[in-house]
Amino acid sequence: MIRPNKTSLKGPLRFLLIALFSASAWAQQPSAWSPEQEERYRSLISELRCLVCQNQTIADSSAPLAVDLRGQVQTQLAAGRSEDEIRSYLTDRYGDFVLYKPPLRLRTLALWIGPFALLGFALYAAYRFSRRSRLLMSDKPAAPSADALRRLLDEDNGRP
């Protein structure tokens, strides 16, 4: 049953991991499938979330629901339905939550944009900070002129 596939298994470690964690998925795999169908089946079940044990894919989980969902994916693939049709079959019933990769929607915008916005903000803050400390540490404070120095002194004197 276990047949190393050059396109999907990049190393012995990955192979071992897959074999270890998807033992139950292997057991379910029908023998009459083409390798291409098998590949689609495996990639589809590893992007679907098991709703009972939420941090596992239905490929990894041995919960009864995951077994049922794998069976469902298998039946529908065998019936010639496309991945998108199967995905929407599941999201119609269980919501977007079954997908490990959430679709880009208005509701999920923060999820998709948030990290980049934060990174941008952090870079900007770092730039501001480094520029300020460079100015403070530079050997030639002459540029700010007496005006700026006086302002600084005033500020200092104003402190309690």
Partner: protein, 175 residues
């Protein structure tokens, strides 16, 4: 300038509030996309095996569809509530016996009492899949027009009945 030191404190406070809200939520409750949609189709035998039922048998009056099983612990918790709703409040409850055997379900109902007007046998769990059930007990409030009005994930409690389910049934009267 003087208030700049407040910025990280405000950010931190905001983050703490967000996290606190996140902690209150139950991650096991996955909102159903079926709310407001017609109840999914099914064609299954009654537990007594004397006839078959389809989704069309749900039309015409508001009712509850309760997915349960004899092997389910949460079902025993909600069972007294269902018994009371059927007996005292006159609520029609349809039982969906999810991934169970006929003998076990009959023994369980004989032991705990039967609050269901009708019990349908979903032996393979196919109706469960189509309805988006991911863990019994789950209870759907179905309106007269056969639409799903609400889904209770986990046991039906008196509080859930009072606050969520009863108002829906009152707003959708049988006549």
């Amino acid at each position: 300038m003087r208030t700049r030191f407040l910025i990280p404190i405000v950010v931190l406070a905001g983050l703490l509030v967000l996290l606190a809200i996140g902690l209150q939520k139950d991650p096991r409750e996955v909102p159903s996309p079926l709310i407001g949609k017609p109840a999914p189709a099914f064609d299954l035998p009654a537990l007594a095996a004397d006839r078959r039922y389809t989704h069309e048998d749900l039309l015409g009056r508001p009712l509850l569809v309760n997915f349960f099983a004899s092997w389910c612990a949460g079902c025993q918790i909600e069972h007294p509530v269902l018994m009371r709703l059927a007996r005292e409040e006159g609520v029609e409850i349809i039982g969906m016996d999810y991934k169970d055997t006929r003998e076990d379900a009959e023994r369980w109902l004989g032991h705990h009492g039967n609050p269901y007007r009708t019990v349908i046998a979903d032996e393979k769990g196919q109706a469960g899949l189509d309805w988006g059930v991911y863990g019994v007990p789950e209870t759907y409030v179905i309106g007269r027009d056969g639409r799903i009005l609400y889904k209770q994930i986990g046991p039906v409690t008196e509080a859930a009945w009072r606050e969520r389910i009863r108002p829906l049934l009152i707003a959708d009267p049988a006549t």
